[in-house]
């Protein structure tokens, strides 16, 4: 019973196992990607990474599903607004900061 609940699509490999594989590989990738960052880029990198963490928007848009109760939809709506603020604001402000660095190159 428990095993059946754990399996996701009949392949026999529960999502949690695949998920953990992905998690560990992604964390390792994250560490390897940015071991050395010049201080100039600390702020843009943080701000850009912050915008990426707004990926939760993908989950948020599914939370206003037709079958959701009112409370769930309210939470879903708040989640969509906040995640969108995070994503749009994050990427735009990062670009604005990096634009400052770019000006110099053109001179």
């Amino acid at each position: 019973m428990t095993l059946a609940l754990l399996s996701m699509d009949g392949t026999g490999v529960p999502f949690i196992v695949i998920g953990l594989w992905i998690l560990f590989l992604a964390i390792f990738t994250g560490f390897e990607l940015i071991t050395k960052v010049p201080p100039t880029l600390h702020t843009p990198l943080m701000s850009g990474a912050n915008a990426i963490s707004g990926i939760t928007i993908v989950g948020a848009v599914a939370c206003v599903g037709v079958g959701f109760p009112v409370l769930g939809k309210i939470f879903g709506f708040i989640a969509i607004v906040m995640a969108t603020v995070n994503v749009v604001g994050g990427f735009v402000v990062t670009d604005r900061m990096l634009g400052m660095f770019g000006k110099r190159g053109s001179k």
């Binding site: 390792f28 994250g30 990607l33 879903g76 994050g90």
Partner: protein, 491 residues
């Protein structure tokens, strides 16, 4: 993608296509972060990452279209875009640290609300009698596995801490939040109690509570406790440590998204969330190293929040004027500017640049000494000086410039304090002992532009101000530099 399964039951190809598109956007995120860590490619990296986000969102919208309330969905996207754009475009660059903190809080909160929404969804399914088991069952069995229960409570816990913690950081950076306590909130004992209570609620809400109403009630209580815990954890941390706190919270918001990925069985959320989590941890580590302190020390040591000790205890301070400094600069062959938070507050970056241009025209060698934790955000000074068009080649990191101060005629310290306090090297009992500092006192003359003799965020006296070769130029950094530029032009 079992969550979207109803929509996809008859359309496996759509499911496969969307999985491939998600993979594509994960790759774009990885490439984006990679490019963000190099100056030349950074801007394109940001574009790649935002393209990845667009692909992910478009893919998801295709999947859920028809299954969700379109009006409410679009309304959310429009409101979020408007607010995000407005803030990102209108907020001055000097206010970047608090803006990043705010966006970060939004991301964490979104993950928290997604988890809460999921809880209420599964609860209602049971109430309608559509779930297979009519009897009361705990969250883990309800959602099909203990990992769901864990993922849900972790999303709420980390998301809540990220939200309130980021808002406190925002408040501290804007000066709206002062002090380290809010009634009993902020004390270590209270924090420990809250943390234990939160863990208990995680366990109870995930594995014990059985009726939908009970589950929801416990998760909402957990939300509240997480929010208060976030307050309690960040309130006691001093303003000088905000760069560390912001990076750490940034990492948390990634971890919250990652946990949400486990709730929704979505690989992309797991990949993106853990990338951000890892990146945030690395930045946090870089910040801690720059202050020669451990992360534990930053979080738990109440570091100099009681800063208002006044300006007593200074003897032999030499005050100076714009005219005197201008004369000093006239004969200087080399100049190093050391900017600090005061520069950001006064928005004096353009004036600094103007002065330095004048000096360069006269053949003086101009450089900037940048301390890794100067300002309130990692790399804060670099962003400000870039805005003022200061050439990148003139910015020098601590290690590269510290040996050069002794061959320098004039150092101008603009609104910096703790990052050039000799006590760090001389007094092992000092709270900043061992922190690498800029040895500005080695220069022939050191001019300190500062509003008063009040201590910096570390709350300690700075003997630099009473050194024989130090001249104190009191005033707002922008005004002081303006006068200095005028005087220099007249000479």
């Amino acid at each position: 993608m079992s969550f979207f399964a109803p929509a996809l039951a008859q359309a496996t190809t759509i499911a496969e296509t969307s999985e491939l598109l998600y993979m594509g956007s994960a790759l774009l995120f990885i490439l984006g972060i990679k490019r963000l860590s190099k100056v030349k490619t950074a801007r394109s990296g940001n574009w790649l990452a935002s393209l990845g986000m667009l692909v992910a969102l478009a893919t998801t919208l295709t999947i859920v279209w028809g299954e969700v309330g379109i009006a409410i969905l679009l309304a959310g996207l429009v409101v979020g875009t408007a607010v995000g754009l407005y803030l990102a475009v209108r907020v001055p660059l000097t206010a970047m640290p608090e803006l990043v903190a705010f966006f970060n809080g939004m991301g964490g909160a979104a993950s928290m609300f997604v988890a809460l929404s999921q809880i209420s969804y599964f609860g209602s399914e049971l109430e309608d009698g559509t779930a297979t088991m009519a009897e009361g069952i705990p969250t883990d069995a309800l959602m099909g596995g203990s990992h769901f229960a864990i993922a849900i409570v972790v999303s709420i816990l980390i998301g809540g801490i990220t939200l309130s913690g980021s808002l406190v950081a925002y408040g501290k950076l804007t000066g709206k939040v002062k002090g380290s306590r809010l009634g009993p909130i902020g004390g270590q004992v209270v924090n420990a109690f809250l943390a234990l209570f939160a863990l208990f609620l995680c366990w109870y809400g995930g594995f014990v509570a059985e009726t939908p109403g009970m589950i929801l009630a416990v998760q909402l209580t957990l939300t509240l406790v997480a929010l208060v815990l976030g307050l309690g954890l960040v309130l006691p941390i001093g303003g000088a440590d905000m760069p560390v706190v912001i990076s750490l919270l940034n990492s948390y918001s990634g971890l919250a998204a990652c946990a949400t990925g486990f709730v929704l069985q979505n690989n992309l959320l797991i990949v993106a969330g853990s990338l951000v989590g890892a990146a945030g941890l690395i930045l946090t580590n870089i910040m801690c190293k720059a202050m020669n302190r451990s992360l534990v020390n930053v979080i738990f040591a109440k570091f100099g929040e009681e800063a208002e000790k006044g300006d007593d205890g200074y003897t032999g301070v030499k005050q100076t004027s714009a005219e005197e400094v201008a004369m000093l600069l006239e004969s200087a062959r080399s100049l190093i500017v050391v900017p600090g938070y005061g520069l950001a507050v006064a928005q004096a970056q353009h004036k600094v640049r103007e002065l330095c241009n004048l000096m360069q025209e006269r053949g003086c060698e101009v450089r900037y000494g940048i301390h890794p934790v100067a300002g309130r955000m990692p790399g804060h000074m670099n962003v400000l000086l870039a805005e003022a068009d200061v050439p990148y080649e003139q910015l020098f990191e601590l290690d590269r410039i510290n040996g050069d101060f002794k061959n320098t005629d004039v150092v101008i310290v603009v609104g910096a304090n703790d990052v050039c306090n000799p006590v760090a090297n001389t007094d092992p009992q000092s709270p900043i002992a061992g922190m690498p500092v800029l040895n500005v006192w080695d220069a022939q003359t050191c001019v300190v532009i500062k509003r008063s003799l009040s201590p910096g965020y570390a709350g300690i006296k700075n003997p630099l101000f009473e050194a024989d070769n130090t001249l104190m130029f009191f005033g707002d950094a922008k005004k002081a530099l303006e006068d200095l530029v005028t005087e220099t032009k007249e000479l």
